[in-house]
């Protein structure tokens, strides 16, 4: 499948992936994340079940302290 990840096109062999699988493949090991799929917020308790599909626009924001 082809998705947009953080504004960039990305291709995967799999036809769908859960959020957790995507985070593992991309080696996103950060703890504090905000994830949006097609503009909708996906909460942490849905990361195991939520399916990302072909054409989805996925935005992963990694939050770090400082300001």
């Amino acid at each position: 499948m082809n998705i947009t990840l953080n504004n960039r096109p990305e291709s995967f062999e799999q036809s769908d992936l859960t959020i957790n699988q995507l985070l593992e493949i991309k080696k996103f090991t950060f703890k504090m994340l905000v994830i949006k799929v097609n503009g909708e917020l996906v909460k942490k308790d849905e990361y195991e079940s939520f399916q990302i599909k072909d054409g989805d626009d996925v935005n992963v924001l990694h939050l770090i302290s400082g300001g």
Partner: protein, 192 residues
Amino acid sequence: MTFEEIKEKLKSYSVGIAGAGGLGSNCAVALARAGIGKLVIADFDIVSESNLNRQYFFRDQLGVKKVVALKENINRINPTVQVEIRDIKLNESTIVSVFKDCDILVEAFDLAEMKKMLIETCITELPKTPLVVGLGMAGYGDSNSIKVRKNSNIYICGDEKTEISDQYPPLAPRVGIVANMQANTVLEILLK
């Protein structure tokens, strides 16, 4: 747009600033100098010694509520700006009640968990309000890593990688770059 038209247009807008620390105080001052109509600024903290290395406060304001001190400083720079201050620790419900009438909201917290709480609240509760986030500005040098990334109506300003630590302290130049980049992004959204 001419300079006069820009100034006239900016007068009609209201910008929310969530946090009056390194990002919030510098961003608010930049917007005030540019002639924004109204600022709504929320913070619960007081000015302390360790803030003076990067935040827009003065030594004689130590111990003063940040929102009170910042309003005073903005009034000294540009008294035509209407400054509404809220001395509160923001949470999911007060973010909505304090900022719901703002045209744009600037995220200017320091802690990652507060940034997360505000961004999630805005996505679900204030989806129409553009949100300008400051993310990653610790340490010094590497100016070219600081940029703006847009995703729908969330604008992320910063390097998205440097977290505050002993080796990467928050210092005036990089914090100021991101704060002013946030202010610049606000102007870009409002004037387009």
